[in-house]
C-alpha cells in the first residue's frame, strides 16, 4: 500500500516531465556556428525592443497557470540572451518614448495538437501517448516616430511527445528544446531586421 502511494506521489510530481521534446525549426543558427552580427555598434542605429508575450493552449489563451507563467518568463529570458548578440538592439519597456526607432515584438508561444487526446494523456500520466507541437510565432513591427516602417515575422516549432516510457528515460526529456527554439526564432527575426537596417536607416549613425 505504502509503495503504491509513494509511486503515485512520484508519478504526480513528475507529471509534465514524462515527455520528450524533439528536433525544432528553424534551427538556422546553431549554437556552435553563430554568425557574427555584421553591423557594429557605432555604425548601426539603436533599435529599442519592446516585447509582448502570450501563451496559447490549443488555440485558446491559457488561464493563469504555471505553464503560462513559465512560457512568458522563458520567452523574455531567451530574448534577453539573444539580444546580446545584436549590438544595435536594446530592450525597452512599453512606456519608453515612441520617437526613436522601435521594434515591437508580439511573441506567441502556442501549444497545438489534439486537445482531448492531450488531456487524456496528461490525466493518465502518459499511459495514453500523445503528441503536440509547440509554436513560437514572432510578429514584429519596426517603427519610428510611431509610424510603422516594416513588418517582420519568424516562426519556430518543436515537437512534444508524451509517453509513460519517458518516465524511465530522463535523458530524453529534452527540456532545453523549447528555449533553443525560442532563441533561434528570435535570431531569425533579428537577422532579417539587421539585413534591412542599411536600407531603412541609410545614415545609420544618426538614428539614435
Amino acid at each position: 500500500m505504502l509503495s503504491a502511494i509513494i509511486s503515485l506521489a512520484i508519478a504526480i510530481s513528475l507529471t509534465g516531465c514524462a515527455q520528450t521534446r524533439l528536433s525544432h525549426e528553424p534551427g538556422l543558427v546553431s549554437r556552435l556556428a553563430r554568425p557574427q552580427p555584421a553591423l557594429k555598434e557605432p555604425s548601426a542605429p539603436t533599435l529599442f525592443v519592446v516585447l509582448h508575450t502570450r501563451y496559447l493552449e490549443f488555440d485558446k489563451p491559457a488561464d493563469p497557470s504555471v505553464a503560462k507563467w513559465w512560457s512568458k518568463h522563458k520567452v523574455r529570458h531567451q530574448l534577453e540572451d539573444v539580444i546580446g548578440e545584436f549590438p544595435f538592439l536594446r530592450l525597452a519597456s512599453p512606456e519608453a518614448p515612441t520617437s526613436p526607432p522601435r521594434l515591437l515584438i508580439e511573441a506567441t508561444h502556442a501549444l497545438r495538437g489534439h486537445k482531448t487526446l492531450n488531456a487524456l494523456s496528461r490525466m493518465t500520466h502518459g499511459l495514453i501517448p500523445s503528441s503536440a507541437t509547440g509554436c513560437i510565432e514572432l510578429d514584429a513591427t519596426l517603427s519610428r516616430d510611431g509610424q510603422p516602417l516594416k513588418r517582420y515575422e519568424a516562426v519556430g516549432r518543436y515537437r512534444l511527445r508524451r509517453h509513460l516510457i519517458f518516465f524511465a528515460m530522463p535523458f530524453l526529456w529534452g527540456y532545453k528544446v523549447p528555449a533553443a527554439t525560442m532563441e533561434d526564432t528570435f535570431r531569425d527575426l533579428f537577422l532579417q531586421v539587421q539585413q534591412d537596417l542599411p536600407t531603412l536607416f541609410p545614415a545609420s549613425g544618426g538614428a539614435t
Partner: protein, 223 residues
C-alpha cells in the same frame, strides 16, 4: 462512497459545461487583412484608458456555428468575429473594441478567477468533512461566474460609453452595436460566460432608461 464521488464529479462537470456554454469556441485567424484597421481602432481607444501603454491582443476570430461576436478572454485578448469585422461599420467596431477593453480594464476576468479560486478551496476544504462536497466547485464555479457576470456587464457598458465619448462617439453607438449583435444572432463571451439574445435586450433597455452621465470618467477605470 467512492461511486457517489464519481457520479458527483461527472454530474458537476456536465452541469458546468452546460452553464458555461462549452460550445462557445473562438479560433484566431493569424494576420487577417483587416488587422491593421482593428489596430487603428484600438489605438484610438487606448488614449482614453488610464494606462495607454498596456498591450491588448485584438484579433479576428473564425466564423463558427455558435457565432461569438465579441470575446474578452484571458491575457487581455479581445476577439471579433470575421463576418462582423467585414460587415459592421467603424462606429460599431469602435464600440465593441472599447467594450472588450473595458472588461479588461475593470479586471472582470481576474475578479472571477480570484473568487473561483477561493470557492474552489472552500469546497475542497469542505470535502474533508462532508464526502462529495469537494466536487461542489464544478457546479459552484460556473454559477458564481454567471452571477458575477450579471453585475459586470453594466459596469463595462458604462465604461465603454465613457471611452466612446472620449473618442467623439455617443452612447447611441454602443446601443447600435448591441442591437447589431442581437439582430445578427451574435453572442458576447467574457471568460466562460456567454451573453446573447435577451441579455442584449435587457442591457439596451437599461442603458435607454438610465443613460450614462456625461461626467463618468473613462480614464479613472473604476466601475
Amino acid at each position: 462512497m467512492r461511486r457517489a464521488g464519481w457520479v458527483g464529479s461527472v454530474g458537476g462537470w456536465l452541469t458546468a459545461l452546460l452553464i458555461s456554454g462549452c460550445a462557445s469556441t473562438v479560433k484566431e485567424i493569424r494576420r487577417h487583412p483587416q488587422q491593421e484597421r482593428l489596430d487603428r481602432i484600438l489605438a484610438a481607444v487606448l488614449p482614453h484608458t488610464s494606462d495607454p501603454t498596456i498591450h491588448y491582443w485584438l484579433r479576428v476570430s473564425e466564423a463558427s456555428s455558435h457565432p461569438v461576436g465579441l470575446a474578452a478572454l484571458p491575457q487581455r485578448h479581445v476577439y471579433l468575429a470575421e463576418p462582423l469585422v467585414q460587415e459592421a461599420d467603424e462606429a460599431i467596431l469602435a464600440a465593441l473594441v472599447a467594450h472588450g477593453v473595458a472588461h479588461h480594464r475593470l479586471h472582470h476576468y481576474a475578479q472571477r478567477n480570484a473568487i473561483n479560486v477561493v470557492q474552489r478551496g472552500a469546497f475542497k476544504a469542505g470535502g474533508f468533512f462532508v464526502p462529495g462536497l469537494g466536487h461542489g466547485h464544478y457546479l459552484g464555479g460556473p454559477l458564481l461566474e454567471v452571477a458575477l457576470s450579471a453585475g459586470q456587464e453594466p459596469q463595462a457598458d458604462a465604461k465603454t460609453v465613457a471611452y466612446l465619448r472620449g473618442m467623439g462617439y455617443a452612447q447611441d453607438d454602443l446601443l447600435h452595436a448591441l442591437e447589431w449583435l442581437e439582430t445578427n444572432g451574435y453572442s458576447e463571451l467574457v471568460g466562460h460566460v456567454r451573453a446573447q439574445g435577451a441579455d442584449f435586450t435587457n442591457r439596451i433597455d437599461s442603458l435607454r432608461r438610465h443613460p450614462v452621465p456625461q461626467a463618468h470618467s473613462g480614464a479613472a477605470d473604476s466601475p
